[in-house]
């Protein structure tokens, strides 16, 4: 059996990347949202695009701390994703690749296996870590032996070393900082300093995406942000959406107070770079953990020494946080300064950091051994869930 395409679902804690392997993926919010303005209906996944006024959105997420906890929410969002409205699929004639977090808890793994075989009538299932797909994607284009995959997502940031295509478990490192912590911290800081935006996760998340960058010299940028007038090249105003003429906020230079009085703005100064800085110094908000470059070194140090060189030469970054301008350069510079002089260091930013793992799914489907990685419905009925635990390396 060999179908012409498979269905790939990179089931993230904030967005799911979904679609057939012969098409482009859709990025769908993996949550249900409720708006103050529309009392009648909750918005599932991409339905939020139909919402006229997205202020004060209330989130219901299937994931908590990076793990699938709220099954009723997930089932509702999945039903939406697999329906005509989003990306329709019939799993009885299409294999499925679905991603799971590293060290996913066994009862969650069991539940996913059960729900896809018994509820969605799946015929072939491959459960796999998103980092495995990313590594596969990288290895297919670089032909390398070892890779360090850095996945900086919504719930946390994982650093996973791979040796000869296999993840080296003793080297896996997790930093409990992801996009969610960044947005919440920005909300907290702005609410104290300027305007209460604690209820505006959706809007402030966009403000973060539109305004923040990773500093290359943190203390120097702090000094610039302290300057007055035109010498301060960092301070900007973020125009907030009003949902009549402005649907999405935007960053603009500071204008004289008498102009544009109608627009409500937030002034962003050191917030622009001290927020993403948490990925490099989690201790800035009291999370007693290493930042990304130090964690990369810690991870590599846990691997067999003969692989150090090759690992340092193949560091790949993906996940939503990688979109911050300056992210790759900062990681490169810090790893370069931490690594021994005679090693080369190569840090690659994924072309499209959000869908990089999904694209890896596309590649792995073309692998001649693809079906040997999967569990089929017959196998599941014959041998039960134990087989899935054996075959999938989660």
């Amino acid at each position: 059996m060999s179908e012409s395409s498979c269905y790939i679902l990179d089931n993230g804690g904030y967005t799911a990347k979904v679609g057939f392997s012969n098409q482009e993926p859709k990025v769908v919010p993996n949550c249900i949202m409720k708006a103050k303005s529309e009392r009648r209906r909750p918005f599932i996944g991409s339905q939020i695009d139909e919402c006229r006024d997205a202020s004060g959105l209330f989130y219901i997420l299937p994931f908590q701390r990076g793990f699938l906890i709220n099954w009723d929410t997930q089932k509702t969002v999945w039903d939406y994703m697999f329906s005509k409205e989003c990306c329709p699929v019939n799993f009885s004639d299409t294999p499925l690749i679905i991603t799971e977090p590293l060290f996913n808890f066994s009862s969650i793994q069991e539940a996913i296996t059960e729900i896809f075989f018994e509820e969605y009538d799946c015929t072939s299932l491959l459960r796999i870590n998103a980092t495995d797909l990313a590594e596969y994607n990288y290895r297919k284009t670089h032909n390398n032996k070892c890779t360090v995959v850095v996945d900086s997502g919504y719930s946390f940031t994982y650093i996973v070393p791979y040796i000869n295509g296999k993840k080296y478990r003793d080297g896996i490192r997790r930093i409990d900082v992801g996009g969610k912590v960044l947005t919440n911290h920005l909300k907290e800081v702005l609410s104290y300093r300027q305007l209460n935006v604690m209820d505006e996760t959706y809007v402030i998340n966009q403000a973060k995406e539109d305004s923040c960058f990773v500093s290359q010299d943190f203390m120097q940028d702090m000094a610039i942000a302290k300057k007055k007038g035109s010498e301060n090249t960092i301070v900007k105003d973020y125009v907030l959406p009003d949902y009549t003429s402005i649907r999405r906020g935007y960053l603009r230079d500071i204008v004289k107070p008498d102009e544009d009085l109608e627009q409500q703005t937030l002034r962003l100064n050191n917030e622009r770079f001290s927020i993403p800085e948490l990925l490099f110094h989690p201790s800035d908000v009291g999370i007693p953990q290493m930042g990304i470059p130090e964690a990369i070194m810690h991870s590599i140090a846990a691997c067999p020494e003969e692989n150090t060189e090759n690992l340092l030469e193949n560091i790949v970054l993906y996940g939503g946080n990688v979109l911050f301008p300056g992210f790759r350069d900062r990681v490169y510079n810090e790893v370069r300064s931490l690594a021994l002089d005679h090693f080369d260091v190569n840090v690659t930013k994924a072309d499209n950091p959000v869908t990089y793992a999904w694209e890896g799914g596309k590649q792995i489907f073309r692998d001649p051994d693809f079906y040997s990685f999967c569990v089929t419905r017959e196998e599941y009925e014959e041998e039960g869930k134990a087989l899935a635990f054996e075959r999938f390396d989660i």
Binding site: F103, D170, R193, M290
Partner: protein, 150 residues
């Protein structure tokens, strides 16, 4: 004058280490929260059938009836804490979820003003927060310092 004196009595009250740690832990926990306000539809009485998809009514292609979202909620109900506990017996030896967490950095901690976010050199005596200038200290004392402790 009264205001200044009021501050002085406040200042004698100093939070102990445990209270400071509790505060810090709460602040970190808040960073994991999904919402800070109530469900805006909480007061609505909604029929259990909502939301439903128009398509699913038109063509009943699936032979067996699909199970409701509510069914799966009950079927797989486990909290994060339960799952972590369960994992400790399922995967007791590292590497596992707990062991993968990175240790503290070996670089020194940096300190920032709790008011303006710029690097700070001073510590508020009552609560241990950081501040950078007399002006920020004033704002801090007026707004946050011991406001939320009984």
């Amino acid at each position: 004058m009264a205001g200044v004196r009021g501050r002085e009595t406040d200042r004698r009250k100093v939070l102990d280490d445990a209270a400071r740690k509790r505060r810090a832990r709460k602040a970190v926990e808040a960073l994991e929260q999904d919402n800070f306000h109530e469900d805006p539809h909480a007061d609505l009485v909604m029929s259990k059938k909502v939301p439903k998809f128009a398509e699913s009514n038109e063509k009943p292609t699936r032979k067996k009836k699909s199970k409701s979202a509510e069914y799966y909620k009950l079927r797989f109900r486990k909290t994060f804490a339960q799952l972590v506990e369960e994992d400790a017996s399922f995967r007791p030896e590292p590497p596992n979820y707990m062991s993968a967490q990175v240790p503290p950095s070996k670089f020194p901690e940096r300190h920032f003003c709790a008011v303006c976010g710029f690097p700070s050199n001073y510590t508020c005596i009552p609560c241990g927060a950081r501040y950078c200038s007399v002006r920020c200290l004033g704002t801090h004392l007026d707004t946050r310092c011991l406001k939320w402790t009984a």
